[in-house]
Symmetry: C2
Subunit: 670 residues, 2 copies
């Protein structure tokens, strides 16, 4: 049975094939190491019912947990330290002695959490050995929390941090949150919305910084550093300077002084995140300066304190005229940032959305990945289900992230997951990940209880992008529901969810057939005449945008190999064929059926698969906590209603456009 608040920290009575020691010796003394020791003590208690005691002076002849950082653990046993990266750890189970060594204190903490997971997963036995290190240095989550307590694109209750214009949180709950995040490897958290409006602009003033400092102190023992979202025009709006021009010395000075104030209260702040010149937010363009001018100026203010600037690349003309075909929004990020490669200071990190649009159900990977060789950058994913069902519809995101990570960027012959690595000048390395998180004040954190798997999966994949969706689904299901048939069935359910959602959504990567603003449910022409640049231009014979060299030229932003693959409908992946090509409805796809018939088929199938998921959930009733069963049941029911709307509106829309009936004579409303 699942206690939904506890997520992957369920209470258990497990039996272990080794005798667990009743003493913990820790040779490290820092704040994080102390937390690691407490987590081990509490975790053993949670899983077995008994609590080992902590001893200060190690008795090497005694069976015990020996934990610490590598440097001091060498007193107890020998293992080559150079096998580990920062944040790495090793675990060794030898004749009732258990060694957990971290490369550093965070590594120790991760090692403890991993040991506890392995215990839960039934993998700890005599002779067990493992070591692991995070592949990504930067494993970030972004909160889009507003100071009024709402959460932009939040579907799990109000903000965990703010209410009514001030910091307002349950510190016990925030510590629980930090534990959840750290246990899966997260090491950075931005706490406020990148759209920094109203009172959020005051976050970098003394009154609010004092409170932010207290929040940082809760996350600190968990190895998680805070990031603050700041408004680029603060020198003007907050500082009352006549300008926020990044090249104006008074502006640079203002930010330097402000940085000093910020670091007075949060000495280990990771840095600032900035959404500039995007969707109405201010930025350097206002002063005819480049993104590099803007980011570097901020970076120089943070540099003395070791801070970094995370600069979002979600920049495009959001006042486009639908009549104007000279411009393609998909080209924007590359066009803006590729020419600036090498122009950014070394403490600037570009945060690039995984695709050229905006977290659609199926988009190609942005051509910026693989192109930037001299600029630090991370990939931005989205855990909160903005376009993927609002945590009403079940949609297990690691499935699509796996596809993204397996994309061969074609430069230096590497897949995205192979490119994840610390920065190295001249290589297209991706330093890590950021993602808008899916958590809020709901008791189960994520609205849909099964959406906890997306948070867990994101953290695990950022730790090591080689993890598969199936590995994550299996692991999460056992940690949450305990070993057994229920966990196996829930893992299968998770793995069925993304394909179903994709089928009943906008077809074949055409994107944006969703209700404007809300972003839930269909509105097939909702964006068709808007200013957002995301058109499908369906007419009575064809649909999609020609983004090849003969069209908008977007395909030319990729490596030669990928340009070739995407430019030819015969080689272009069909799940995103309408993103790259304008095709007639009678275009014959690889399965021998027309595009139109494939649209019909996928939409009938998507609905059927959603119906099957609901049935499977009902079949699980007796194995589940009533509260968990019922809250998810109502969501599966709403999902089916949503799938029905998608199916019928999409099918009717194309039937009305073409007059061509389904070849299997299924019901399409006229």
């Amino acid at each position: 049975m699942l206690n939904e608040y506890d997520c992957w920290f369920q209470k258990r009575q497990i039996t272990v094939p080794v005798k667990l020691p009743d003493v913990i010796y820790s040779c490290a003394s820092g704040e994080i190491a102390a937390q690691a020791a407490r987590e081990l003590q509490n975790g053993i208690k949670r899983l077995t019912g008994f609590s080992p005691v902590m001893h200060v002076n190690p008795d090497l002849n005694r069976n015990a947990f020996f934990i610490g950082v590598i440097s001091c653990m060498e007193n107890y046993f020998h293992l080559p330290a150079d096998r580990l990266a920062a944040g790495g750890f090793l675990i060794n189970v030898k004749e009732d002695r258990i060694y957990i060594a971290g490369q550093d204190e965070p590594g120790l903490l991760y090692g403890v959490f991993r040991f506890l997971s392995l215990l839960s997963l039934g993998q700890i036995k005599d002779g067990f050995e493992t070591s692991d290190s995070p592949v990504s240095p930067l494993r970030m989550i972004n909160h889009w929390d507003n100071f009024d307590g709402t959460v932009e694109r939040g579907y799990a209750g109000g903000s965990l941090f703010f209410k009514d214009g001030v910091f307002d949180y349950d510190s016990g709950r925030v510590a629980d949150y930090a534990r959840l995040l750290a246990s899966a490897g997260i090491n950075r958290i931005s706490i406020n919305n990148v759209n920094v409006r109203a009172k959020a602009k005051l976050l970098i003033t003394e009154e609010y910084l004092r409170e932010a400092g207290k929040l940082a102190a809760i996350f600190r023992p968990f190895g998680i550093k805070l990031i603050l979202s700041v408004n680029f025009s603060s020198p003007w709006s907050l500082g009352k300077l006549p300008t926020a021009d990044p090249l104006d010395p008074s502006v640079a000075l203002w930010w330097k002084e402000r940085a000093a104030l910020v670091y007075k209260y949060i000495p280990d702040l990771a840095g600032f995140i900035v959404k500039a010149d995007s969707e109405g937010e201010p930025g350097p363009f206002q002063y005819n300066r480049t993104h590099a001018d803007g980011a570097n100026m901020l970076a120089r203010a943070l540099e003395p304190f070791g801070g970094e600037v995370i600069w979002r690349c979600f920049v495009y003309n959001c006042q486009q005229d639908w009549r104007d075909r000279s411009f393609d929004r998909a080209c924007a990020a590359y066009n803006h940032f590729k020419p600036l490669d090498g122009a950014f200071d070394k403490n600037v990190i570009l945060q690039i959305k995984f695709g050229p649009y905006d977290f659609q159900v199926r988009e190609p990977v942005s051509p910026l990945f693989g192109s930037l060789l001299k600029t630090r950058h991370v990939m931005e994913l989205q855990i909160t289900q903005e376009y993927t069902g609002h945590q009403i519809d079940l949609c297990f995101l690691p499935q699509v992230w796996e596809d993204i990570l397996n994309f061969n960027a074609g430069r230096q012959g590497r897949r995205i997951k192979d490119m994840v690595s610390p920065f190295s000048e001249g290589e297209a390395n991706i330093e890590g990940f950021a993602a808008v998180v899916n958590t809020g004040k709901d008791n189960n954190w994520t609205g849909h209880t099964l959406a906890q798997a997306n948070l867990y999966g994101y953290a695990r994949m950022t730790w090591n992008p080689a993890f598969t969706a199936k590995e994550i689904a299996d692991e999460w299901s056992v940690l949450s529901f305990g070993e057994g048939e229920t966990a196996r069935r829930i893992s299968k359910l998770l793995l069925k969810s993304y394909p179903a959602y994709e089928k009943y959504n906008a077809p074949f990567g055409v994107c944006f057939m969703v209700t404007p603003g809300l972003h839930y449910g269909p509105n097939i022409e909702g964006y068709e005449y808007s200013r957002w640049g995301t058109y499908h231009r369906a007419d009575n014979s064809a649909i999609g945008i020609d983004r090849t060299a003969s069209g908008t030229g977007y395909t030319e932003q990729y490596s030669k190999e990928n340009t070739a693959i995407f430019s030819d409908p015969k080689t272009c992946p069909e799940n995103m064929i309408l993103f790259f090509h304008r095709l007639r409805y009678d275009y014959v796809m690889r399965n021998g059926k027309t595009l139109l018939q494939n649209i019909y088929d996928t939409h009938f199938e998507g609905y059927e698969e959603a119906a099957a998921m609901l049935e499977e959930w009902k079949n699980l009733k007796e194995y589940l906590e009533k509260e968990v069963y019922e809250s998810a049941l109502s969501r599966f029911e709403r999902q089916l209603e949503n799938a029905r709307e998608w199916r019928d509106q999409i099918n009717t829309y194309f039937f009305r456009k073409t007059g061509i009936a389904d070849e299997k004579s299924r019901k399409i409303y006229s």
Copy 2:
């Protein structure tokens, strides 16, 4: 030059071909008569610069204004009283003596206002005689003002009455407002939104009633009675009864007691207005009772105090499924209320929207008019420009009201305007009009200064539905801008506006191609898959709903003659042909061109006409007050942008559906 706050009460220095007396004798003593005398005194001062004095004792040998009600005026001169209806008046100018006699005190007030208008219009001379009576007994405006100070569908600033949950108004401004309304003949005003939510439910509690009473006192000298919007479930939500069932004696008793309380504070309250069982508002359906059960119960509570219940007929299933063709929203009002004809108490007045939908740019007249022979009712129009351009686009509504009033309802062979008359059992009389007003806190009252003409025009047409749009445009223009070329040009501009707006809007009466929720600008499929029942079902060969006997049967709700006219596309008025018929794009219309080509033509023309209006306004610059010129100029510019979106989106939409180009090769975006 226009002072926009003063509307049709501009200051002037006019010269008059008669010597205006310098004394006013009034033989009536009531509150309204006293107001009439003051209005005469101030009005003469406003128009001529000199102020006549009031004398108590009439000197019959002296040149003077003799004013009063007929009964006492008979002492001064002889005219048959039976020529006037309630609210009627006569004016007589004889050898420098001026007689203004009202059938009653409101009639006197209307006579004074009319005299002042005639003076402005240059029609007063020696020997002038006129008499006039209102054709409609009920000349109502509705405010959709919320207690928080917002105005539902308001485009002219915040509420004149409420703010932040309480009554909050400038009593001088409210008196000016009452003067404006009364001068054009309005005699009823409902002050709060028919969607009675949140604090507005408290309006019928002592604390708020005390304040409402003060407001009523401002309107009272102007012959205007207050109406309150009430929530049908008040006995439950306010009174804490277990039910609001209209047949429950405790509910009826609750309302009786509540009515006594209300009338304690507003002894001359006209009554309650109720939106029941509509768009989520509570009503008798909840208790399996009829509208008659609900309305009559309330009517019996108000009856002892002379109050009336105004019961809106805007009732339909607002949870329709777009797939379900068994139901047609257009049929709803008739289906709900025709069977109840005769079932309502004599102090119940049904308020019926002019058309079957919801104030669309072009709708047929509701078949309820002409059908109800035993039930008191009024017609509801809309002055606020919800679907007609938000007081950004110029749209002179008397133009379409004239069409509505000229509709031959076919029963008893009468046009709507011939049916406007006091109630008489067995006749299809319409007792008057109600309309959501277009006023707010903007200095010019109506956002677009020229939208003042809609308020004036509504009031004049409710006074006498025989007035033409041209008469009203001419009269309003002279009263506002003074006699001369400017007024003539502005009158022409007004008269061009509705045809232009209609052309660039949804074509040929198909309705609802407007942005959902907002109701400004195009969104051609915005309502196509919604729950609101207003579909056009355009496909690649045809558009519109067959509402004939072979379709939804809506046409069968009309008189035989009208059923025949509407059922045949050849006789159906073409400006609403797509409301009644589903037509192929190649259907040939009376001008010999296809439906599709007519859609293209009207949309190109509508844009051109909007462009011409902007040019005409620019040409008027030197004759206009800077403030008036510029605020309207920015609106004409936005209107042109709106017309462009309508033109291009509509044309592109149909071009994409059909692939057929404009025969004149004008630009249609693909």
